[in-house]
């Protein structure tokens, strides 16, 4: 889901995706490229990502991944599921216990 989310703003190459996730999460998620890369391939195989060779802003050739319509739909579905879940967790947890005392 994180991978799909980073690609909403436009196509990125593999390393770009890793960097984007890291910076968007304020370095909280440091995903190793070794794990990210097979995940990209898996998403591509499922048809949620498409890839193409393009030239980057720094004039280097790289393979860029972008969301397919199916990927966008999947992201929406997962996002809804996640916000339901997160909302439920928040309701159960309530305000921070320290403040209540």
């Amino acid at each position: 889901m994180l991978v799909l989310r980073t690609l909403v703003f436009g196509p990125l190459h593999g390393y770009g995706i890793a960097k984007a996730i890291r910076s968007a999460s304020d370095e909280a998620f440091d995903i190793e490229f070794g794990s990210l890369y097979p995940a990209l391939k898996r998403l591509e195989l499922k048809g949620w990502l498409a890839s193409r060779w393009e030239t980057s802003e720094s004039n280097r050739r790289a393979k860029f991944y972008r969301l397919t319509p199916a990927g966008r739909k999947q992201l929406a579905a997962e996002h809804a599921k996640w916000s339901d879940f997160a909302g439920a967790v928040r309701r159960v947890m309530g305000p921070a216990p320290g403040e209540a005392q």
Binding site: H13, G14, Y15, E32, F33, G34, S35, Y37, P38, L40, K41, R42, L45, S56, S58, R60, R61, A62, K63
Partner: protein, 892 residues
């Protein structure tokens, strides 16, 4: 994964693309930033899911290399397994033809066959024509009275169609003056439509053809039409004479349609109600006590056999009850039995099923031996490859990975064997068909390599490869790595795993092979001795140089005196053929499973209440031509035939039973009863001969001339005693017949020897097959034994060298090794012989004049196996005795 990745080109393209991408990224980000790229790539490949294809391909390549590197091992293993698979496939193809295959018609599973069952022959059946099959509980038959068919047909909620049919026998089929025989069957109007059989040309019989007085039409089978007309479609509209009665061919059935009986291919289909035209009695369609017509139904969709049974059985019961005239007839009435009709009349099933079960079991044993052999060879090789496997395991190969690789090898080996086995099977089917058919052109069991049979071969190869590769593979990978790698002696001694009484798994396998070989040897011995007993049965006549053929002039239109005259004239022509020493005729052939029996009346009182005798209607000079010694009086000669003298010859048994062994010449007896009785004067006493079969005791036989009662004269078999090869007379015989009357075909031309051999065809087949099977089994088992002993000798080279260095004699060493072979064989005998004793009664019905536990056979089987085992053990022993002790010890 996508299927296109099964093709290497797509995989390579994807792979190159990925490498390029990773390199590009490394340039952007720096290698350290990205971590282990090789691992990332490997994991990505796993995502694509083709690693297993790659490793499978590698396994197969490696397995092929290993197999090719050991040609002797590969050949031995593949060949023995191929023989096993081939034998099973060949036998199964016959089982398939006789027991499994469905009729080649539309939706055969919806066909139901109607039979009846009774405890004994039903008294309510005043006349019966057809087949019945007896078993322990009673008898079964498919022949019904015609009115029963009409009653059952009135019920419409069970069958879409209920149709009827009946054998019409062998017919003379004349087309444009050319006469040949053909097999006919009567079919009711719905016969073809119910079976869903389309015409290949013209139209088929329908209800309008099947009524009394309808214009006489026939349908030909495709093969028969093609044979007689060249092109099948040309038959349509042609006039033909069937037994001299004119018919018109209206159509040809589809190619491949052979009727309902897989034992007899029907050539000609006649409308059922036209029987009277062919000389059948017209009253058979009304008589409720005359059992002859057969029935089959196409079940309505969704109706089961059980439902059909419960719906129809009461109807039939009510019908038969109405036809029983008295208490005796009512006592044991036939009951309806609805059976699956998908495979037709199942004549082949009744004839061959038991024999096929026995052969399947024997072939299965061969496969078992071959499998044991394979397992043994693989075990030996696994032991030899311990070092290689240990090395691979210690380098980090997963155990399952190594097991998989070994299994790939054994399955590849088994597939190779399967392919070879199919070749063996093709040859075996051909040979077996020739053996079973025994030169007879009416043999109809068409075994073939169809998908069903090939599927079995495939399944057998995979199962054997998997089953017998698994144990050795598991054992091979269960190794102590340190020990294996430390051991400088490649393939050094495996830790001996003891099973029972100190027997290792490999020894157990050899013992099992020997035990199975004993079983097959005993079977072969029993059948060979049976055949030998049958061949040495004293016939009482000379079977050599006799040509036999059938002539049916009555079906060609001759009657009574003209018929007798034709037969006499033909005899004169035949006897005049150069190379014919003498000739005669009779109403059937001696020792051909045919017989005629009737009651007789004598002018003096007898012990037996219902005296009866076998008889034979003969032409002039029967005893002379058959070379049956005449013991008293004279024989029936041409003058007797010409004058219609009511004279008879009897055999010794007849004289003994009915005249207390006194000379019967000059006495009279009545053959048959009441108005059919024929008063005969005995003019000669003949020596006893076999009558209908080699296996049956000689009955009382009366021979009387064919002119003594012209109403009994139908077809004749002519017997010609040739000076040389009887079959060399064939063309001269055909010419003589052509001169006498070209409209009459010659049927079933054989020699007397062939006729007799045909009656023991099953015994001959069994003897030949079992001899082959036993030889195969012994061969394979000995290869196994040899392999194991040779392996042990190789393993014990050092020990043997030591023994020799310490002064052991060569003879002692040879004996030490041969003794091991003999001990294993003896263990096999100790297991196999009791099993043979316990199971041989299964084949009792196939034996003749011997007991299933024939001691001579058992002893011979044991002796043969011990001798062959000693030979198999001697070769490696001899090699061991040549070992150079110094070389052997230095190696240590």
């Amino acid at each position: 994964m996508t299927w296109k990745y099964l093709i290497p080109r797509f995989r390579r393209r994807e792979e190159a693309d990925m490498q390029e991408e990773l390199e590009a990224l490394a340039e952007i980000a720096g290698r350290r930033e990205l971590g282990n790229l090789a691992l990332a790539a490997e994991n990505a490949r796993a995502v694509w899911g083709w690693t297993w294809i790659e490793s499978l391909a590698a396994d197969i390549r490696y397995a092929m290399r290993t197999l090719a590197a050991n040609p002797a091992f590969t050949a031995m293993a593949a060949l023995s397994l191929a023989l096993g698979i081939g034998a099973n496939t060949a036998i199964y193809s016959f089982t398939d033809a006789a027991l499994v295959r469905s009729l080649p018609v539309w939706e055969p599973h919806r066909l139901a066959m109607l039979n009846w069952r009774c405890k004994d022959f039903p008294k309510v059946a005043h006349s019966f024509s057809g087949n019945n099959f007896k078993d322990d509980a009673g008898m079964t038959s498919g022949n019904f009275p015609f009115p029963a068919y009409e009653v059952l047909r009135s019920r419409s909620d069970v069958f879409d169609v209920l149709f009827a049919f009946n054998r019409a026998g062998r017919l003379i089929v004349q087309i444009r003056g050319q006469a040949e025989m053909g097999t006919g069957v009567y079919a009711s109007g719905r016969f073809f439509s119910a079976l869903g059989a389309p015409p290949a040309a013209g139209r088929l019989i329908d209800d309008d053809d099947d009524r009394p007085g309808a214009p006489p039409v026939v349908v030909f089978s495709f093969a028969y039409a093609e044979r007689r007309f060249g092109v099948a479609a040309r038959a349509v509209g042609q006039p033909v004479l069937l037994n001299n009665t004119p018919f018109t061919v209206i159509g040809v059935a589809a190619p491949g349609f052979y009727g309902l009986d897989n034992a007899e291919i029907d050539d000609i289909y006649l409308p059922l109600r036209l029987g009277p035209l062919m000389g059948e009695s017209a009253s058979r369609y009304q008589n409720s006590n005359s059992y002859w017509v057969q029935m089959m139904g196409r079940l309505r969709p969704g109706v089961s056999l059980a439902q059909a049974q419960s719906a129809l059985a009461p109807m039939f019961q009510q019908f038969v009850l109405g036809t029983a005239a008295n208490e005796q007839e009512r006592k044991d009435l036939p009951a309806l039995l609805v059976k699956d009709g998908g495979s037709g009349l199942e004549t082949l099933r009744h004839r061959y099923s038991k024999a096929l079960y026995v052969l399947t079991a024997l072939a299965g044993l061969i496969l078992l031996i071959a499998c044991a052999n394979l397992a043994n060879l693989l075990l030996a090789r696994a032991a030899a490859r311990r070092k290689e496997i240990g090395m691979r395991l210690s380098l980090g190969a997963g155990r399952m990975r190594v097991v998989r690789q070994l299994l790939t090898e054994s399955i590849l080996l088994a597939s190779l064997a399967g392919g070879l086995g199919v070749l063996f099977a093709a040859w075996g089917i051909h040979a077996l068909t020739r053996l079973l058919a025994n030169d007879s052109d009416t043999f109809t069991m068409h075994a073939e390599l169809n998908w069903n049979v090939l599927g079995l071969a495939l399944a057998l190869s995979f199962a054997t490869g998997l089953l017998f590769g698994l144990a050795p593979a598991l054992q091979a990978t269960r190794v102590d790595l340190a020990a294996v790698l430390k051991d400088a002696n490649a393939g050094g001694p495996a830790p001996r795993r003891r099973w029972f009484f100190g027997f290792s798994m490999r020894r157990m396998l050899v013992v099992a092979q020997m035990a199975i070989s004993v079983l097959l040897l005993v079977a072969a011995g029993l059948f060979a001795r049976t055949l030998n007993n049958l061949n040495s049965v004293e016939l009482g006549f000379n079977r050599e140089h006799l040509l036999l053929f059938g002539i049916n002039a009555r079906n060609a239109g001759y009657k009574d005196a003209a018929l007798a005259q034709f037969y006499q004239g033909l005899q004169t022509r035949l006897n005049a053929i150069p190379g014919v020493r003498s000739g005669t005729s009779s109403n059937f052939r001696l020792v051909s499973q045919s017989m005629s029996k009737t009651s007789i009346e004598l002018d003096h009182p007898l012990a037996s209440k219902e005296p009866n005798t076998a008889y034979m209607i003969v032409g002039p000079g029967f005893l002379t031509t058959m070379q049956i010694p005449l013991l008293a009086g004279r024989e029936i000669d041409a003058r007797d035939i010409a004058t219609g003298a009511k004279v008879a010859l009897v055999n010794q048994k007849f004289a003994k039973t009915f005249f207390d062994g006194e000379n019967p010449v000059g006495r009279h007896f009545k053959l048959g009863k009441d108005e059919y009785a024929l008063d005969l004067e005995i003019v000669g006493l003949a020596r006893d001969t076999r009558y209908s079969s080699l296996k049956e005791a000689i009955p009382e036989i009366a021979y009387f001339s064919y002119t003594a009662d012209l109403s009994r004269l139908y077809a004749l078999t002519y017997e010609l005693r040739a000076v040389g090869d009887p079959l060399a007379l064939t063309s001269a015989v055909r010419r003589a017949l052509q001169d006498a009357d070209p409209r009459i075909p010659l049927s079933n031309l054989t020699t007397q020897s062939q006729t007799i051999d045909a009656t023991i065809g099953q015994e001959r087949t069994f003897a030949a097959l079992c001899a082959c099977f036993a030889a195969l089994a012994v061969l394979i088992a000995c290869v196994g034994l040899y392999g194991m002993i040779a392996y042990n000798v190789a393993r014990r080279t050092g020990e043997i060298g030591m023994r020799m260095a310490l002064g052991a004699g060569r003879g002692g060493l040879v004996w030490m090794i041969v003794r091991e072979a003999l001990a294993l064989t003896a263990a096999g005998l100790a297991i196999g012989l009791p099993i043979a004793l316990a199971t041989s009664h299964v084949v009792k019905s196939f034996l003749f004049e011997m007991k299933p536990n024939d001691p001579l056979t058992l002893a011979a089987a044991g002796a043969i196996l011990l001798a062959v085992a000693a030979a198999a053990g001697y070769a490696p022993a001899w090699r061991a005795s040549r070992i150079d002790p110094w070389a052997a010890l230095r190696h240590e």
